[in-house]
Symmetry: C2
Subunit: 328 residues, 2 copies
């Protein structure tokens, strides 16, 4: 039984969360077809043409948006039936392979593509100016209400625990990597637009929380299908990865000051770092080497320019920038 799987045709989609950093903000490349919802760029795999999945991805990204991808990493494969609850037709089954890609920000002219501030999608993920008010006010009270709506006392406690550990309440520390867990929690609580949309499409009523006035202004900017979930996966993975692999340098110019490096790490992790300790860490880690040149446009004393030491890859097994504690 079930050995003949060719009853329904299968389409493999290749999705990309394409990240750049500019102006101390992480940017995401999105597309906006007319009258359709904003989405991550995606294209189908050509089963005959594309030799590998990654090459297929690079190919259509180049064609569609003119962007040449640098670092590319596979994230996750999403294959739930009804990933798109609005499309209940028995058409072909879609399997989506999601990728994280990093590019040095370049001018891009292709239509239907734009760079968007990552934290428009996740306003609760940027703690660089302190915890956003939104986080401990609206979000917290809404989640409290959601936890009270749990069907049983033990479930209620579970919800409370999940909230605390993911959002850093009740003594828990904020873990910047848990982007996906936080998004999924907000989704379950009905605090993101997609939750309302999907519930509607499934014919169920959206979870109603009195703390939100209308069902309109929910948290963050929505994306099509499960693309915001994919983006959350990407951001979480990237935040984790910079700690033990030198991927930040994919986002920086060839030479940079240590403070510029720190600002990019902070932009991605959404957290402020201790300056002196940060520089101690990258210096001792052998991640960078001095160039001898100085950057004058610092707004203060000139800073030395550094470049990435590629040799570190052959010296240490897991070089990354670490996060020398956030200073709030």
């Amino acid at each position: 039984m079930g050995m003949d799987a060719s009853d329904t045709s299968i389409v493999v989609g290749l999705n990309a969360a394409i990240v750049a950093v500019s102006d101390e903000m992480p940017l995401i490349l999105t597309t906006q077809a007319q009258d359709k919802q904003e989405a991550l760029p995606f294209g189908p795999l050509d089963p005959q043409g594309d030799r590998t999945l990654e090459l297929g991805l690079r190919g259509w990204v180049r064609e569609q948006t003119g962007v040449e991808l640098g670092y590319v990493e596979q994230l996750y494969t999403f294959g739930d039936r009804n990933r798109d609850p609005s499309q209940t037709t028995g058409g072909s089954r879609v399997i989506s392979v999601a990728y994280l890609a990093l590019v040095r920000q370049s001018k891009l002219q292709a239509p239907q593509a734009q760079w968007r501030n990552c934290y428009e999608f996740f306003p609760w993920e940027d703690l660089r100016e302190g915890r956003p008010a939104l986080l401990d006010e609206t979000t917290r009270s809404c989640l409290e209400e959601w936890s009270r709506q749990a069907p049983s006392p033990s479930k209620r406690q579970q919800r409370r625990d999940r909230m605390a550990i993911n959002f850093g309440w009740r003594g828990s520390a904020w873990d910047s990597d848990r982007v996906l867990d936080r998004y999924e929690l907000l989704y379950e609580a009905g605090l993101v637009q997609e939750a309302v949309r999907d519930a509607k499409a499934r014919g169920r009523k959206a979870p109603s929380l009195s703390c939100i006035p209308s069902g309109e202004a929910l948290l963050g900017r929505p994306l099509a299908l499960d693309h915001r979930r994919i983006l959350a996966t990407a951001l979480g993975r990237l935040r984790g990865k910079i700690k033990y692999r030198p991927v930040v340098f994919e986002l920086l110019p060839d030479t940079f000051t240590l403070f510029q490096l720190q600002r990019v790490v902070e932009a991605l992790s959404g957290v402020r770092l201790h300056k002196q300790n940060f520089r101690r860490l990258v210096a001792k880690g052998g991640l960078v080497e001095r160039t001898g040149q100085m950057e004058q446009q610092t707004g203060g004393r000139p800073a030395e320019l550094f470049r990435f030491r590629r040799e570190v890859l052959r010296e240490r097994p897991a070089p990354g920038v670490g996060l020398p504690g956030l200073r709030v």
Copy 2:
């Protein structure tokens, strides 16, 4: 162009590296169809029946082998054209989604399935009795020869560096997580059976190293297709994961002594740990709680039985057992 991807049909395969631990050895479930090569269990996705990829996987594993999977985690999606170089027919394109699954070892009676010692596939990965002779003798001299065969001096240096960092030579430390890197290096050097097999199927000559007498007795037991690569991915991921997630307990009975726990961690990571420090770590980590009962069959003084503290999941963001340094 390329938007119509339905010229060739696509089959999605679900692959599983199913791991158990028994008798201080990690075990892998494999299948052995008659006259075909040993392989990881795999089955196709039923695009109509299976609601999610993971449910599809659990389903056919239950049917085929009678094993009920516990913890399941998606690993990676392999989609190269010519994953199987021997099959050059223009049939359907196969995309494989690989999973890591953990089970408490149970009796299994299904035919065509057997538990196999993991280190038969990767004899160079078990350093518990010290570095295996094979590692620093045959393997090293073969890889040295391979690096000398590099087309240019800079490539040669690159090969040397990769060897050193992955196998812990020339001052580098052994990083137990790099299972995949090591396997890929051995593959490139032609030291595993699959490399020879694939080269033959592609009509190229296999890389010849004089240090191997015939082309027969290469390193470790081979598997079909790219299954040994998948298994390497799984073992590497598992080794990394036990450090920051309490997944080991999926492999242990309900109650266990701290030394049993340590033995399982050692079996998976392939490395010996310092006993007193290990117990200090798990105790302080709040990972376990005492049961009050004692285990008498220790071969020495009785040991207290512990159980996993599930509450730790709601207390700390990333609880794992850590690896308190190997003692050689």
